[in-house]
Assembly symmetry: C2
Homo-oligomer: 310 residues x 2
């Protein structure tokens, strides 16, 4: 097996953790940084992890992709709100046949990317992880960590895909390669749609929502609408999935999902990825997700008025 080179496009909590694990295990990893570039170049990356802490020094860091080498695998770990930058960011680092893995929330971005880069292998990555960047160069990985990927179509090299899996597994990351990107993306939305939006709209955390009868019913309603939308779009989510998501969340620690963190930190929220795109696709397939749409409308208002800035 040849050694693969990895580019981490967007080294935040997710990119820093997965890229950091790969580098710490000896893989050839190139990190794109933005505001933290100088700090990390001087001080390296520090990761406090439930699976064992580690520190990286002398990392291969860059503050633009034009100065990066062409890589075999690009892990896109930017928020989906920044996807309009992807053509410019990815073009300099792609070989003729690289693999692009979008470790992001949302729906439809792999298809958009495939139009721009028709020769590349493109996969979606669903990260099941609690991790956050607490300060420049410092990441805290609090729980979970599994990564599930699925390729868009079959335009990928099976041997390379196997090696990517081996590299992640060797780095201590539970890694599953599935075969139904659409199903995985929609399954993730069944969780993301209620919890991300409601923790922002109601300024709360998952545990408080779960304990309140009205909010719990609303979460259930949003999940059921999402499952109906998913099925109309060909993602055959099973009947017991909603109950499973509720049960899992009951067991979780009080949690502020990524959109709540974005809101609290005055960053753009992934409304388009998590709400607008799924709503549009479900509607085109004949399902009007009423309550999901209302949450989207409220989030659009909140983003414009940023009420937490008072």
């Amino acid at each position: 097996m040849k050694k693969l080179s990895y580019a981490i496009i967007g080294t935040g909590a997710i990119g820093g953790y997965y890229g950091g694990r790969l580098a710490f295990s000896g893989q050839d990893v190139h990190f794109l940084y933005h505001s933290e570039y100088d700090y990390v170049k001087a001080n390296g990356l520090d990761v406090k992890s439930v699976n064992g802490d580690f520190h990286l020094n002398n990392m291969q860091v860059y503050n633009n992709t034009a100065s990066m080498p062409k890589c075999d695998v690009a892990l896109v770990c930017l928020k989906a709100t920044q996807n309009d930058k992807l053509p410019q960011l990815l073009t300099p680092i792609l070989k003729e046949k690289s693999t692009i893995i979008l470790i992001q929330n949302g729906l439809g971005y792999e298809q958009e990317l495939a139009k721009l880069f028709p020769t590349q292998a493109i996969a979606g990555g669903m990260a099941f992880i609690c991790t956050s960047r607490v300060s420049p160069g410092h990441i805290v990985h609090a729980d979970y960590g599994a990564l599930t990927t699925a390729y868009l179509g079959n335009k990928y090299d099976v041997e390379t895909a196997e090696q990517i899996k081996a590299d992640f597994t060797g780095a201590g990351v539970p890694y599953t390669q599935g075969d139904d990107l659409n199903l995985f993306r929609w399954r993730k939305l069944v969780w993301n749609i209620p919890y991300n939006g409601l923790t922002v709209a109601l300024r709360t955390t998952t545990d408080k929502l779960m304990q309140d009868p009205a909010a719990r019913q609303l979460i259930t309603d949003l999940m059921i609408e999402t499952v109906e939308g998913a099925r109309a779009c060909g993602a055959n989510i099973k009947d017991d999935f909603v109950q499973k998501m509720l049960d899992n969340t009951d067991k979780m620690e009080p949690y502020a999902p990524s959109m709540r963190l974005d809101y609290d930190n005055h960053r753009r929220m992934e409304i388009q990825a998590i709400y607008s795109n799924p709503i549009k696709m479900a509607k085109a397939a004949g399902v009007h997700m009423h309550k999901v749409e209302m949450l989207e409308q409220q989030l659009r208002f909140i983003e414009q008025h940023d009420n937490n800035a008072k």
Copy 2:
């Protein structure tokens, strides 16, 4: 014409204004007060009004209905959240045939009251008014003021109804008596449902909602759902009513509806009256008002967690 006696059950901003106008014009008005009793007994009631200021001294005030005389007309101006007290409050002041006018938000309360007081004439009152109690004994009437009533069924005396109308008109209150209580109640809900709930859920005012494209669309959606619910319940609201409500609100000054004021002042919100009852009635008639129901669910959560108390 005999002179009618009036009881104001709940002398807040609404009861103080309408009851005050009646008393100031020379009618026989008896005011029920709660926390403001001592102040008003000593100092009277002061009303700053766009239609002319006035002050009342030596008012007939009471701090319980057991000590009030039996009256011909009871104007119930309590919040609907306090309607569980009505049997106890009203029983001592009703003659064999009194008229009870519920000047309140909501749906279904006249019917509930009719079960308790089957011999009385019962009407709903829809106040179109901006008025607020700024301190004990001090009311500011900022805009509008019309009162529309409609009787439940036809168990009322036409002559008495005419005299009530004459008394209000003589007191300077534009007064209309309509004949379709169900239609009037639902029409009021078309405005109340979007603006009351959304100004609380999104911590904002009507003008900001109207200026935001997403919130404006959500308001429109909520109004359309309400019209569909209304029609299923036999209230035939016309097609252009939604646009008319939007146009009217565009012309209004920035406004915090009563539910927003209740929320800000940590009072119970009229969720049951404005949301739960209409949702239930529409559902029984075959219309699921999805977004209205979601707003109800969010308000129930907000009431439990009173996020503004932080």
